[in-house]
Structure formats: structure tokens, C-alpha cells
């Protein structure tokens, strides 16, 4: 639709905001690309809500261990320094504010940081919430990674969510194919956007009022393989 960032580039950009030593939980979809862009020499501790800390990359095809799965129920690995625990302890980590960053996908994010990402509200599927609501309100910082607009062009960043909510005022930063936007007390603040589009164009493609951050800079991502 535009010359916006690829899905890998969105994940790359989000990965730049993850500091060494951070404990990070990744939702399904775009966030799962983040670990590919964490340099090997930067230690980040990945949490999987089904009871793992220090999760490594997905298991190689010939080394699948079905007793060692991730939150997406796929075989994964555990790094040295990892640990296992039960669900109440795992969600104590989440609910208790011990996860530094949770990166989630979104159907909609509102101007005050409300998130809708669990139920399309169309009655076509059994709604499945999983751990989304706990993660949305529990993590210290919530990143949302999303295409700026839905396939039909509808903005995903909106004044008020029309879809069933996941959490109230929980999103801190939004990474899209066009921009990086902070949710602040005064509203949505664009800290970065592509130089190939104007602020006005970005505003036109957004369903809520934006302001440009005083420390705005251009959104730049390296070319990435496999896109």
C-alpha cells in the first residue's frame, strides 16, 4: 500500500528499544520477529507465560521437544540461566510488574492507550483471550507492533476503540510501518515517522489526533533480508 516498513523492519525498530538485561514477553504476530533483531552479544531475557524465563530460539526441526513449548504451543529452547515455574508464578511476574517490556499486536489502539487485540467482536469466532489482558495491564511498558492501517485502509490508531477492549490506558509506545508513536498524558506524540511521508499524510492515515514530538527524528530502518 505504501513504501512503509516491512514486518521485519517494524520488529527491527522495536528491537532497538529493548535494553540489555530487559525481561521481555512477546505476543503472537509481529512481536515474534523481535528476537531476530537482538544482537547476539546483547542479553535479553525472554519470558513465556506458560512458565519459562530465558527462552531461546524455536527448536530446530529435528530437535523438537514437546515438553518444552512456548506460549504459541510450538517447541522452543531454554538458554543457560533459564528457569521453569508454574502458571501462578508466571502471571505473578506479569501482574506484579516484573516484565520490563511486553510487545503485543493490536486490532486498535486509542489515543489514551486503550488496547483492543483479543476479540474482533463479529461473533464469527469463539473469543480466546489467553494472557493478553494480564500482559496488557501488568508489564512495566507495553509496546504495540502493528500495521498503521488495516487492509481496507481503516486506521488502527483511533480516538476510541470500537472493538472489545483488552486493557485500559495500557499502551506506552506504538511501532507501525510508518511511525513510532508514544502514548503520553497529552495524547499521541509522534517521535519518528518515515521521511517519505509528511506529518499531514500520517495524520490523515490515523484515526486520532497526533502531535509531533519535540525530539522527533526520521524513522529509518536498514534493508532486511527475507522480505
Amino acid at each position: 500500500m505504501t513504501g512503509g516498513l516491512s514486518r521485519s523492519q517494524i520488529a527491527w525498530r522495536a528491537a532497538q528499544d529493548i535494553h540489555e538485561g530487559a525481561t521481555v514477553n512477546l505476543g503472537v504476530g509481529l512481536p515474534l520477529g523481535i528476537p531476530n533483531h537482538i544482537p547476539a552479544d546483547k542479553e535479553v531475557v525472554f519470558h513465556s507465560e506458560n512458565g519459562l524465563l530465558g527462552m531461546g530460539p524455536p527448536a530446530a526441526e529435528d530437535e523438537e521437544d514437546w515438553e518444552l513449548i512456548n506460549a504459541g504451543t510450538r517447541p522452543t529452547t531454554l538458554l543457560p540461566g533459564g528457569s521453569f515455574f508454574h502458571h501462578a508464578d508466571s502471571f505473578a511476574m506479569i501482574r506484579g510488574g516484573h516484565i520490563d517490556i511486553c510487545a503485543l499486536g493490536a486490532f486498535q489502539v486509542s489515543a489514551n492507550g486503550d488496547l483492543a487485540n483479543w476479540d474482533l467482536g463479529d461473533g464469527k469466532r469463539i473469543p480466546t483471550v489467553g494472557g493478553a489482558m494480564d500482559l496488557a495491564v501488568g508489564a512495566k511498558r507495553v509496546f504495540v507492533l502493528t500495521e498503521h492501517n488495516a487492509r481496507d485502509g481503516a486506521p488502527k490508531i483511533v480516538e476510541r476503540c470500537s472493538l472489545p477492549l483488552t486493557g485500559l490506558a495500557c499502551v506506552d509506545r506504538i511501532f507501525t510501518d510508518l511511525a513510532v508513536i508514544d502514548v503520553t498524558d497529552r495524547g499521541l506524540s509522534v517521535t519518528e515517522h518515515l521521511e517519505t511521508i509528511s506529518f499531514e499524510e500520517l495524520q490523515n492515515r490515523t484515526g486520532a489526533s497526533l502531535e509531533q514530538s519535540s525530539d522527533w527524528r526520521p524513522l529509518i530502518s536498514p534493508a532486511l533480508d527475507g522480505e
Binding site: 531454554l78 477492549l165 483488552t166
Partner: protein
Amino acid sequence: MINKQVQDMAAALDGLDDGAVILAGGFGDAGVPNDLLHALSGLHLKNLTLVGNGAISERIGHGKLIDSGAVSTYIASFPCAPHAKLFDPGTPTADVALEIVPQGTLAERIRAAGAGIPGFFTKTSAGTPLGEGKETREFSGALHVFETAIKADIALIKAKRADRWGNLVYAKACRNFNPIMAMAAKTTIVQVEEIVELGGIDPELVVTPGIFVDRIVVIETPFTAQDLS
């Protein structure tokens, strides 16, 4: 002498009755007590309330018990994987009442039951459809909802190893809901791959102390989703 091992599935499931509230462990297919659930499916009970994270297929585990017609209510965070033939209009399980609970709230409500806490407040689900109708209260300026303990008659648990006192250890990601469910039921029934002699489990390594376990049945080679193919 304390010996919680029972000889077979019939003894493990003895006394279960229509209308029971049943906790069943597992996440995905890891730690799901498939063999207990399949044996329970064969008992043709009715009106069970089943509590667990979710079903991955109508052919195994939680899904198989539900599909057998024994379950009238399923309390879950992720009731069913996308391709499972469950709950949809036109399927045999369309009438099962679903109570969707956020995964962490589900875990905490179960742990609360085991710990003798009748209710607690949490921020999770406040202001969302899943928080509707719940008592609310503000703490530190944030809206919270009141959640109550989920007490059960029976817990069906899968562990790796036990001793005759019922001490349990699990494998890797197979703990998930099992240790907290073991605490929260009147009768906790466990399937394990092996029983070791008393003292054979390092006391520092016990995850579920025997106090929470009532019956143990040995299933050396548990049924898993890999057996479906």
C-alpha cells in the same frame, strides 16, 4: 504405610459423579493429563464443569472430554484452538456454556482456592467485556475487579514422577496449571510416568508436595498430540 498409588484408571477415577467441578492441567498439549481425560470420557458422566486453559482439538485431552458430551460448562482462557471442531453452531458441543477468563486471572483464582483465599482484586479485565458485572474498586488510582476462588471437586494432573507420598516433579514447560490445580480440589488425581522410592526425589526439587495429592496412577507412555497424526 502411606501409598497413594492406585492400580488402574478405574480406581483412579472411582467415585467421580455427574455435576462435578473438574480442574484439568496442561497448556497446549504439554502437561495435559490426556490419559485421565480420555478414561473419564468413557465414563459417560453428565453436567461436568471443566476448568482449564483450553482445548487444542476435539480428539484429545480437554477437547475429547468436552466432545464426549460430559461437559456442560467450560471455564478457560483459550477455549479452543482455531481448527478444533468445538463450540461452533452445528457441532455437538454448541450448547456448552463458555466462561472466558484471562489466563492470569484463571491461574490466580485456582491458586486462591488452594490457598484458602476466597477472593482478591486484580487490574486484569477492568474496563473490558470480561470485567463487566464484576465488583470494582480503585487502588493507586487504577480500576480493579474482584475475582473469586475456583474451588473444585477433582483435579486431574499430569506429572513426570512421583513417590508413594505423592510428591511430584514435572518436566520443563509441563508444570503450567498442574501444581496450582493440585492444590485446589477436594481430590487430586495424578498420572505419572514413574513412581520412585520414597526419598528418591530431592526435597529441594519437589514442586508439588504430597499433601496436595490423593491418587496416583502410572501411565508409562502418556498419550500425546504426536500420537494423533
